[in-house]
């Protein structure tokens, strides 16, 4: 495993995070490196470039995350995705966020980072240090549902339920952005989420109803 930055390192410095597939795929056996601004800590020696403020992480690294308002320490590799951290590395695991395509196509793994919806399968865990992460578990509990969750139940916005956490989180984000979305806006905001059972109609009704409730209007 190389701890030395490869020649391409400087070119990658500004790399967009959507290069995750490259980074993830380029990792051989527990190898791979990520180039992260403002990384907090590394178990193995990190090669720092003080001028650029860039740290190069490699190998198992302990990071600190804020998940649903709680500080969590977790050991990750640079190529470990946020989805993988939530589902398999946190103790106890947060399995409400689902893995479906692991390819940024379906939205089942949607969580909020800095209050904005992201596909957690496309985020490297090391990049969310110091940025608040909100998962489906952060919104409501079965006996204390959020307005969105309540509306999904009331309008049968779910069948098998596997896409549901992603839809709920995407809806929470959409309603934070639009207080009174029309039908086209709802479709647009949820266009990144796929359901196979075909429960979209219930979802649309749920979003409209939740937005009305959040505005303080009647159902």
């Amino acid at each position: 495993m190389s701890k030395t930055p490869e020649p391409a390192a400087r070119d990658e410095r500004e790399a967009d995070l959507s290069r995750r597939s490259f980074l993830k795929g380029a990792g051989g056996a527990a190898a791979g490196a990520a180039f992260v601004q403002g990384a907090q800590a590394t178990q193995e020696a990190a090669v720092a470039d003080p001028e650029a403020g860039v740290r190069i992480l490699s190998g198992a690294t302990e990071i600190e995350m804020s998940v649903n308002g709680e500080a969590r320490k977790v050991t990750v590799e640079p190529r470990t995705t946020l989805l993988s951290v939530l589902r398999t590395r946190l103790e106890p695991a947060l399995t409400g966020t689902k893995e479906v395509c692991d390819n940024g196509n379906c939205g089942a793994c949607t969580v909020l980072v800095d209050g904005k919806p992201v596909y957690s399968c496309l985020q490297l865990a090391v990049t969310v240090q110091g940025r608040p992460v909100t998962t489906i578990e952060g919104f409501g509990k079965p006996d204390q549902l959020s307005a969105v969750q309540e509306a999904f139940c009331a309008n049968d916005g779910l069948m098998c339920g596997f896409c549901t956490p992603g839809f709920v989180v995407a809806t929470e984000a959409a309603l934070a952005k639009h207080s009174n979305p029309d039908a086209d806006t709802i479709r647009h905001e949820l266009a990144g989420n796929l359901c196979r059972c075909g429960t979209y109609d219930g979802v649309f009704k749920a979003v409209a109803e939740a937005s009305a409730v959040r505005r303080g209007g009647a159902k």
């Binding site: 990792g27 051989g28 056996a29 527990a30 590799e77 190529r79 470990t80 993988s84 589902r87 398999t88 106890p92 695991a93 947060l94 399995t95 409400g96 966020t97 689902k98 893995e99 479906v100 395509c101 390819n103 196509n105 379906c106 089942a108 489906i136 578990e137 919104f139 409501g140 509990k141 079965p142 549902l145 969750q149 139940c153 009331a154 049968d156 779910l158 069948m159 098998c160 339920g161 596997f162 549901t164 956490p165 709920v168 709802i186 479709r187 647009h188 949820l190 266009a191 989420n193 796929l194 359901c195 196979r196 059972c197 075909g198 429960t199 979209y200 109609d201 219930g202 979802v203 649309f204």
Partner: protein
């Protein structure tokens, strides 16, 4: 005790619908709160102490001799605890699918398992590529299966009758229709978590058949069935693809036996596409004729079922319609890809597309209203009524082009309407049992091993006893998805509800009678009977007895009432299901893009258990049909045999922007008892959609899906 306290037993029977408080109303799913908060645990979510993550290694080419399998580098991966070949060196992998599994690994983390799987080195001698119908049928083609490339020939009807019919027809068509292979695309992939300690095991399986999985996994684990428990609290879709343990289940058991550690083995998404099942494709050459009075005179067809190494499904032609003569031959044409599996109404959407296209082409050929032409050739009045209902809802009466295709407006847009009908069998099967238990503290459980695929089974397992005792829905706890409970049935062919709901009803009825007997013995005075309503129970007759349900249960002392009952045929619907759908589309004749504006369905289903879940399921069927019609298609690279559509980017399904206005009409004139109906509403949608495209602009689509290039080609705008 006086004589009139004797327990008068009656056969269980559903109450009149007008008296029902829960059943046949719109109920929230009882597991909704768990699902919307992420608390619902699916098999893929199981996290057990000391668990390993396992992963399969699949060949990417459909056929090859595996000359060498080297797992040594996989074992060097940090965290890898096991890496083994699944087949011996020298084995010929015969097709792309579950035969492609050549090795497996297990590791401490998912990432290490992925690395280890990638580190397995294979030396291959690729074989011939036989992934399309034409490759398989080419002269001198290598054999796909030991039985050859063509099999399971069937022939219906008489050739001479058909030839005569064609000569006597006033309008004839001769066309070829094609349907692609479609995937189930369950959002939770196939697999399980096996927790085995050497003496007993719990298997968290994503399965449509909890009860029968028990014996299957017991065999795989070399354990007696009573030492194996299958748990499927929730599952992320099935649609017919998830019955047996599969290769993946077998390997999970092998690893568990070897390591004596819990094993998590769920397919990844590309593997799910490669080996997780599919709906067979279809190629049909059809001749058909009708007479000027609007009678379907004859259909003659040669149909190839394209089910990979499997047989594929096809119910025959003229499918739901009546023809004076027919001669239909169908056969399997095998390709070196995985076997088709049961998928929601196996074979029916394919037959529907072919037959409804034929009906439409003949109707317009006669310059007849296609709705009218259908009704003339459908025997059962229910379909006439269903077609009239959807025609009214879609606005057929006011539609301008009823007997010929329309033309686009100046902006290139054209609007059209199409129709199609559905069928399936009603009812259930024997075998399901349910226990209803009333505890002295007033809690009630209703227990059956049956799984809930997202259909809402858990909700009616609770609702039926709640209805029986006049309780709110949340007063009953449904326990399902566990093989240690009374047996359920496999969820296939829409039989679950018709099998399980009668057993639940019989158990609830039995528990009520047993409870009434206990109460009657305890109550001083004459008791004629009991009324259970609004959370209370009162006696009729002389005795003055009127208490809350909880108080009544307290009279049980320490001994609960528990009654188990089996399936009762008198409580289920029999015969046939019907259904009709209408679709309104807008076609952009400049780009070939099809926008579905509105879909309408009517469905008969006997006594609805939960009107909200029922409506969702009808709409779900419509959406899956829309998705099949517009987007879905499994594509292999013909030269190398690689599966090109092995992710959700290249295999597209309908998302929010494809969804039209949806109207699902529950046919309340069907006064039969309970039945499932999930297969029926997935059958006709793509057929009605295709017919709507023709009605809009004259583009006849004879191949699914109706992609823009095909629309433009049908309009004669592509060479």
């Amino acid at each position: 005790m006086s004589a009139n306290k004797s327990n008068r037993r009656a056969d269980p029977a559903w109450k009149p619908r007008s008296e029902m408080k829960l059943i046949n109303t719109a109920m929230r799913r009882v597991d909704g709160p768990d699902k919307v908060t992420g608390r619902a645990m699916y098999s893929a979510d199981m996290r057990l102490p000391n668990m390993v993550y396992a992963r399969l290694v699949l060949l990417q080419v459909p056929r090859a001799v595996v000359e060498k399998i080297d797992v040594s580098r996989a074992l060097e991966v940090e965290g890898c605890v096991l890496a083994q070949p699944y087949v011996e060196a020298g084995t010929e992998v015969l097709y792309s699918g579950d035969d492609s599994v050549v090795a497996y690994v297990a590791a401490e983390t998912e990432e290490a398992a992925e690395d280890a799987a990638r580190a397995v080195r294979l030396t291959l001698m690729p074989g011939p590529v036989l992934v399309t119908r034409l490759q398989s049928l080419a002269p001198g083609a290598a054999e796909v299966t030991s039985d050859g490339n063509v099999g399971r020939l069937r022939e219906q009807g008489d050739e001479e009758d058909a030839v005569l019919g064609l000569s006597e027809s006033d309008v004839l068509i001769e066309e070829t229709y094609e349907l692609p292979i479609q995937h189930h695309l369950c959002l939770e992939t196939h697999g399980c978590v096996v927790d085995y300690d050497g003496e007993q095991a719990t298997v968290y399986a994503s399965t449509q058949a909890v009860t029968s999985n028990q014996g299957e996994f017991a065999q795989l684990l070399d354990l007696p069935s009573d030492k194996v428990r299958i748990v499927t609290e929730h599952m992320g879709g099935g649609f017919g693809a998830k019955f047996g343990a599969g290769v993946e289940g077998g390997i999970a058991c092998t690893i568990a036996k070897q390591l004596k550690r819990p094993v998590h083995l769920l397919l990844d998404r590309p593997q799910e596409f490669q080996m997780g099942g599919n709906r067979s494709g279809t190629h049909a050459r059809v001749k058909a004729g009708a007479t000027a009075d609007g009678t379907l005179r004859v259909i003659q067809a040669e149909v190839d079922r394209l089910g990979g190494v499997g047989g594929g499904s096809f119910p025959g032609l003229p499918y739901i319609y009546e023809a004076e003569a027919r001669h239909v031959k169908d056969r399997s044409v095998h390709t070196a890809s995985d076997s088709s599996r049961a998928m929601r109404a196996p074979g029916h959407p394919q037959a529907s597309f072919i037959m409804e296209s034929v009906m439409d082409e003949l109707a317009y050929g006669l310059a007849m209203d296609p709705l009218e032409f259908r009704k003339r050739n459908l025997g059962d009045d229910v379909w006439h009524r269903h077609l009239d209902t959807v025609a009214q809802e879609i606005g057929w009466a006011a539609h301008p082009n009823k007997t010929a295709a329309g033309a686009p407006d100046d902006d290139g847009m054209a609007e059209g309407i199409g129709f199609a009908v559905a069928t399936w069998g009603a009812g259930g099967r024997r075998g399901a049992e349910c226990e209803v238990r009333l505890n002295p503290d007033g809690s009630v459980t209703s227990s059956c091993a049956v799984q809930d695929l997202g259909t809402g089974a858990r909700t009616y397992v609770a609702a039926i006893p709640a209805e029986e005792f006049g309780l709110p829905l949340d007063a009953v706890t449904a326990r399902i998805g566990d093989s240690s409970l009374p047996p359920g049935v496999g969820s296939g062919g829409s039989v679950t509800t018709g099998s399980v709901a009668p057993a639940v009803k019989a158990a609830a009825h039995g528990a009520r009678e047993a409870m009434e007997k206990r109460l009657a013995e305890a109550i001083p005075g004459d008791v004629d009977g009991f009324v259970w309503a609004d959370g209370r129970v009162r006696s009729t007759g002389g005795a003055d007895f009127d208490v809350s349900f909880r108080e009544a249960c307290a009279m049980l002392g320490t001994q609960p009432v528990a009654v188990t009952a089996g399936h009762d045929r008198s409580l289920q619907a029999r015969g046939q299901l019907h259904g009709a759908q209408a679709v309104r589309v807008r076609v952009d004749t400049w780009t070939g893009r099809v926008q579905v504006v509105k879909m309408v369905a009517i469905q008969d289903q006997g006594l609805p258990m939960n009107r909200m879940a029922l409506e969702s399921q009808i709409k779900g069927g419509m959406i899956q049909a829309l998705s099949y019609g517009l987007l879905e298609e499994r594509v292999f690279d013909n030269e190398h045999g690689w599966l090109l559509t092995d992710n959700m980017e290249t295999y597209r399904v309908a998302g929010t922007k494809e969804i039209p206005e949806l109207v699902a009409i529950i046919d309340d004139e069907d006064d039969r008892p309970v039945t499932g109906m999930a297969e029926a509403p997935v059958i006709p949608g793509q057929s009605a959609l295709s017919n709507a495209i023709y009605n809009a602009c004259g583009a006849r689509l004879r191949a699914v899906p109706f992609t823009p290039d095909r629309v433009l080609a049908a309009l004669g705008l592509l060479s």
